[in-house]
């Protein structure tokens, strides 16, 4: 052991009621899920600023449960991403599987938990953005008058407008509910490594139902790992109101509008993030243009027949 460095106390509650009594005794303790983010911080060890009390959530049985029906899949917050993919490969939206796979191989996804990836304070993974496309919700457990209460919230409400985590103190996300509906167009794009190059990477998740020249029910989320994520109706409307195929000037104006929106929310977006965002938007528009043109030519062929 390093001299002068205190070894943190690790609390390992086996159920949620044990957790609530520990959190009452040690209100300032840190919550430890998979630990991937905490341990990847450069100053993690040795450090004199590490919290002296750590509550390890991995031993809480309730947080490892998984259940599903025709409409929803519900995961405990301590289910790791590898388990999410392996249990939900056939039922979960493809874009969600793609987002999880973008985290890395099984060796990495086996360590990252669903709750942990949603609740890091100063790092935003691409998962909340993608989940927001499917109106995911989460169960938050919080202390009020020395008692633990729980309530379901839409996932978007646990983040502020800029995608920063906005949970009450001593609150815990215990379950995540994902709606099982697919839109016909859904894609996930990521440029740069979220873990190694946060300042320069960006990811965009988009889904919707292309119908001839329209892009109905469009949902889009843009994530900057060092800043937060943007998912709003204004952003969705940019795509919903467009008529595809778009020519170069229309495409340029959409790119500009999205970059402007990003800059308004996060003024410190790096130049490379801007370029990468623009590149991905261009790719999406190109994709939707191809979709629209293919649909148009199929229609023409049908009418000539």
């Amino acid at each position: 052991m390093l001299e002068g460095l205190r070894s943190p106390n690790i609390h390992t509650p086996s159920n949620l009621s044990e957790y609530s009594s520990i959190i009452q005794h040690y209100p300032t303790s840190s919550l430890w899920a998979g630990g991937t983010y905490i341990m990847s911080r450069r100053d993690f060890y040795p450090s004199s600023t590490t919290n002296d009390e750590i509550i390890y959530l991995g031993t809480i049985e309730e947080l490892h449960r998984f259940q599903r029906n025709d409409r929803i899949a519900e995961f405990g917050a301590m289910v790791n991403l590898y388990e999410v993919v392996s249990t939900g490969r056939t039922i979960l939206p493809k874009i969600l599987i793609k987002t999880i796979q973008s985290f890395g191989g099984n060796i990495v996804t086996g360590r990252i938990t669903l709750g942990g990836s949603l609740c890091t304070t100063d790092f935003r993974s691409s998962l909340p953005g993608t989940l927001s496309l499917f109106d995911a919700s989460c169960e938050v457990r919080y202390m009020k008058k020395k008692r633990m209460h729980s309530k379901w919230f839409p996932l978007m409400t646990i983040y502020d407008k800029g995608g920063k985590l906005n949970l009450p103190e001593r609150a815990l996300v215990s379950r995540i509910r994902i709606n099982l509906y697919e839109r016909s167009y859904q894609k996930f794009f990521q440029e740069g490594s979220f873990f190694q190059d946060q300042e320069n990477s960006v990811s965009i998740a988009i889904s919707g139902n292309p119908d001839q020249d329209n892009f109905n029910d469009a949902r889009i989320a843009i994530t900057y790992p060092n800043l937060g994520f943007i998912a709003s109706h204004d952003l969705d409307n940019i795509f919903s109101s467009a008529r595809f195929p778009l020519d170069q000037s229309e495409s340029q104006s959409i790119e500009d509008a999205i970059i402007e929106m990003g800059m308004a929310t996060f003024p410190s977006i790096s130049p490379l993030q801007k370029i990468r965002t623009r590149g991905i938007i261009k790719e999406i528009i190109n994709d939707l243009n191809i979709n629209a043109l293919t649909a148009a030519s199929l229609d023409e062929a049908n009418t000539s027949l």
């Binding site: 052991m1 991937t36 341990m39 990847s40 750590i54 060796i107 190694q196």
Partner: protein
């Protein structure tokens, strides 16, 4: 914090800081030479060990999580018959990882073989965890398939 665990077949009782990463424990407390880097959790992938038979990045495992667990590092793994299968596959395919990623890549291949994940996609996805590019994806797939065949034959002979 007192932590009991089994590392490379030896039952140990260590007095450690509860949040010390396993990669540092192996390098500093056990003097294990097979862990080549401590990247502070930046996921370079070079510090792979087997924890209860599953491959993990040791820089992401805190000391309190190894309590009661069985850890196998490359030093311990290299003496096993399973290691010989992969060694033979390297010879058979004339493909060999570079010195810096040799230990980690071999343990990753072992974890793929033991969990029977030998499809192209599984191999490619798993090898993405390693930031060393000394071998192409196709080469690793050939190694994994050769090693899988060698192991299958060995098991068939034994039974």
């Amino acid at each position: 914090m007192k932590i009991d665990c089994v590392i490379d077949g030896k039952a140990l009782s260590l007095s450690l800081n509860s949040n010390k990463p396993l990669s540092l424990i192996l390098a500093e407390d056990i003097q294990n030479a097979s862990i080549s880097s401590h990247c502070n959790g930046q996921m370079c992938g070079l510090c792979v060990v087997l924890m209860d038979g599953k491959a993990v990045l040791s820089c992401l495992i805190p000391a309190f999580e190894i309590r009661g667990k069985t850890i196998i590092t490359f030093e311990g793994y290299a003496k096993t018959k399973n290691a010989k299968d992969i060694e033979k596959a390297y010879d058979l395919t004339h493909l060999r990882p570079c010195q810096s990623c040799y230990n980690a890549r071999t343990l990753l291949i072992e974890s793929l073989l033991s969990s029977n994940l030998t499809s192209r996609e599984d191999v490619i996805r798993e090898m993405e965890s390693l930031k060393c590019h000394c071998l192409e994806a196709g080469d690793v797939i050939r190694i994994v398939q050769a090693a899988s065949e060698i192991r299958r034959k060995r098991h068939a002979r034994r039974s």
